[in-house]
Subunit: 161 residues, 2 copies
């Protein structure tokens, strides 16, 4: 409840789940959750996570996670690999589905970005890139990617750590 990483997770969760207008407001919410911080630290946290303040349609300013341009969910998923082994998911992982030469991962709100980062760092040759929304993560595969192999490669990031 008190180390930096858990605080960053908490911020992501709060920002993705409710309207936060100022850093002071976020500060209050975090303190209610038992975190002891100051505005200065929040400023740095938000900078590190690239969370930014943008106007919404009603003229308010809200903090939003990066890449809030939503990636449309793949329509007809033809294959689901969700929790095939019943392992405990990590990073809010919910499901993995393939369609065409893409994979779509659903996560709890706010977690797609962090998971995308981990997947990028796997440096799997058949994963050409990832794009993260708030709770959806699109993975672009190479043309000759093998789905079973991809699933196996992703397992360490999804299940453990």
């Amino acid at each position: 409840m008190k180390n930096k990483n858990s605080r960053l997770d908490a911020i992501r969760l709060i920002v993705s789940g409710q309207d936060v207008h100022t850093q002071e407001e976020l500060l209050t919410l975090l303190i209610q959750d038992g975190y002891q911080v100051t505005q200065a630290t929040l400023s740095r946290d938000l900078k590190r996570m690239k969370i930014s303040k943008v106007a919404n349609a009603y003229g308010d300013y809200l903090y939003v996670l990066p890449n809030h341009a939503v990636i449309k969910h793949a329509p007809a998923a033809e294959m689901s690999a969700a929790n095939s082994s019943g392992s405990k998911p990590r990073y809010g992982f919910i499901s993995l589905k393939f369609t065409g030469n893409m994979a779509v991962i659903k996560t709890c709100p706010g977690y797609a970005s962090g998971l995308a980062y981990d997947i990028d760092n796997l440096n799997v040759a058949d994963i050409l890139g990832t794009i993260a929304g708030d709770d959806t993560l699109l993975i672009i595969l190479s043309e000759d990617a093998d789905r079973t192999k991809i699933k196996r490669m992703l397992e360490p990031v999804i299940v453990s750590l």
Copy 2:
């Protein structure tokens, strides 16, 4: 040169084409272009256009256009003035790969959105749309797109390493 809409266009152009760190900086650039404004007006303009300030890797805050996942319809003139847009090359470019009817461009962190904007402005008929994340850019190609041709069309906006 002096009405509101032309100013908004000018702001979009500046923000998409170069690094703007503060509203004061943007103010200076606009004044150089012959616009007479103040910081207060810029604050309102940026709010209206949902242009926001985000951290770029290594410490800077930059103003960026809102994330866009624009799928164009009815491609206008056939690559008419495609290369007439005065976009400068983006130095964040890392790699370009094709898969199926898509292309994936990897960039340095934070550069994908700006590059996507430039590519949209190329008005290449075979590029149906782009989706930009932070350091990854997805280009949706028409089914009969010619990869060599696409590469050639993209040359003006990317810098080969």
